[in-house]
Symmetry: C2
Subunit: 337 residues, 2 copies
């Protein structure tokens, strides 16, 4: 109040207002004053800080402490709510520990530099990176910051901690569900994205289906967009030979495209062909019939990622174990006719 200046008050201003030294202010506000400052003095300092609307200058604090309590979350775009959920979960846990999370959506990149560390205008304590953000990974590795990988091959991560969804189990549930319904001929609509998590889907589906005699799996590839998925599905379903009765999609968006393709060919879901997705986005219950899909808990994923990074930063061992996923059966799957 007393200072008519426009600049923000510093700890020194608070000190002056409270009649103590700057060091005392730092001790009190940093909660390190027990046995070093009298309770009455501490209260005077807190009062002065409140009065002046004091907020510590984070740049100065970061410089002093040599850490920033800021981590980078590298994701492949934010075009579905999945990574938005990952961010939300990570940011929540981060906030609980006094950390901030800054985003870097990788494939399209941000800005001309395409450098995660330049575009995040912040000094970083660590990084959480999705393995789908492939083009940013080498830069990340080069920086030698504490790193947690999401959905990444545990073998290939070279020491970096990994946090994974149990995608293989999800695909297993899908396969068992469809095989149980009596399906034998599968079309796998695969995401055309180079990432471990999609390799797992393909491998697991092939394995589970192959375990049953008289089955087949055809694979079609498509970028993750509704339009591309329509085209790829139409192409695959138009091929000669016995038509697949079950369409297993690598993600819900692909499934939405498959819906349109199936309709365009004059077929009905689930009567003529069953369709499954993976993600359980809002999309899944918006389309008709509602999509049988695997629910991924994106927020939990983000939370676990952040917890793992905190563990690494504190020198603890990150919690192990994949995150369970769950098949949600809805109207898009039925026994083949």
């Amino acid at each position: 109040m007393a200072r008519g200046s426009t600049t923000r008050p510093t700890s020194r201003d608070v000190a002056q207002a409270a009649g103590v030294s700057q060091a005392a202010v730092s001790l009190v506000l940093g909660d390190k004053w027990r046995g070093r400052v009298a309770e009455a003095t501490a209260e005077r300092v807190r009062e002065a800080a409140r009065e002046l609307g004091y907020r510590p200058n984070l740049a100065a604090r970061n410089l002093r402490l040599g850490r920033t309590r800021t981590v980078l979350l590298v994701v492949p775009a934010l075009t579905t709510e999945f990574f938005a959920g990952v961010y939300t979960g990570a940011a929540r846990v981060a906030a609980e520990h006094g950390f901030g999370v800054v985003l870097y959506p990788s494939p399209e990149g941000i800005g001309p530099a395409r450098d995660p560390f330049a575009s995040a205008q912040a000094a970083l304590d660590g990084v959480i990176a999705s393995s789908m953000a492939a083009d940013a990974l080498s830069a990340i590795r080069g920086e030698a910051l504490p790193l947690v990988m999401l959905d990444s091959d545990p073998e290939g991560s070279l020491g970096a901690a990994t946090v994974n969804l149990d995608i293989a189990d999800g695909v297993r549930q899908v396969a068992e569900h469809l095989l149980g319904l009596g399906h034998r001929r599968f079309l796998h609509l695969a995401a055309d994205v180079p990432s471990w998590t999609f390799e797992v889907r393909a491998r697991e589906l092939a394995t589970r289906v192959a375990a049953v005699p008289g089955t087949s799996v055809v694979t079609a590839r498509s970028p993750i967009s509704i339009e591309d998925a329509v085209a790829a599905t139409v192409r695959a379903l138009s091929e000669t030979g016995p038509r697949p009765t079950a369409l297993v999609c690598d993600d819900d968006k692909l499934a939405a495209g498959a819906y349109k393709a199936v309709r365009r060919l004059g077929l009905r879901i689930p009567d003529d062909v069953s369709v499954t997705g993976l993600d359980d986005l809002a999309l899944a219950t918006a389309i008709d019939p509602e999509l049988t899909t695997v629910r991924l808990d994106a927020e939990l994923f983000g939370e676990r990622g952040m917890r793992a990074l905190l563990a690494v930063l504190e020198g603890r061992e990150p919690e192990g174990g994949d995150i369970p996923v769950r098949l949600v059966v809805r109207g898009s799957t039925a026994p083949p006719r």
Copy 2:
């Protein structure tokens, strides 16, 4: 390379490697060396910096310069791709100007503090805030930082710059389209969110429809979620009296709910009832029939928001004018029977 230490190299290390003073390094790397350092020396410095993998310590730079080149983007959650798009656009423009963007998704908040400025672990140069993030706004105002409001009442923004989508024009286009098709009885499925942008929708729709004799508008309110929208729509359509033939929804998610409600009542789209949305999310083309909706360019919105903030920061006048939007006619609208 010479230093076996684990800490990151500083400008002083670079200086030593290049055989110059720290100041020279700063000049060269800061691109302020013309006429002060010989070209050969500058090159030696750049070479040394490259060799050591030097990156300036941003905390130190921020402290020195008293600004952080970081802005806060306050949005209401990230549950649709709309605000993800806003972020992407803002971040792109920011990066082009050497700025970073940190997110604060407001309603659910992050962390216990619910304080945008505490949870963004960063000193900020400015703020871009959506008017939908109501509960964070008072804190933002209190901080007296350069501020740009998105989708906010130009009258009520008290001097803060505003960047708005021309929502009124979008609603006008919807109304003209439906009136032109011959619709007279409207149901307005309104978002139950206190924000200027939704008031505009209601006002504009009422005005445009009222301009034609023999018309009526009934309003139903729903939170923005598919499930809530289903319930609200079923309730509204079950009321006695002549059934509305056109259903105008405040956003695509509400429209998706309306689809399900309409089907549940045994009606068909667009034969029995036309439906329109607003946003043009991926959802809009995933559902069947594809949704007639108003396309909002979220990325452009974010870009313009960031440009406006940059203008404010540089003391320039922000570019005025609302961002145009465009009706996209698809299969969910047809003349009433």
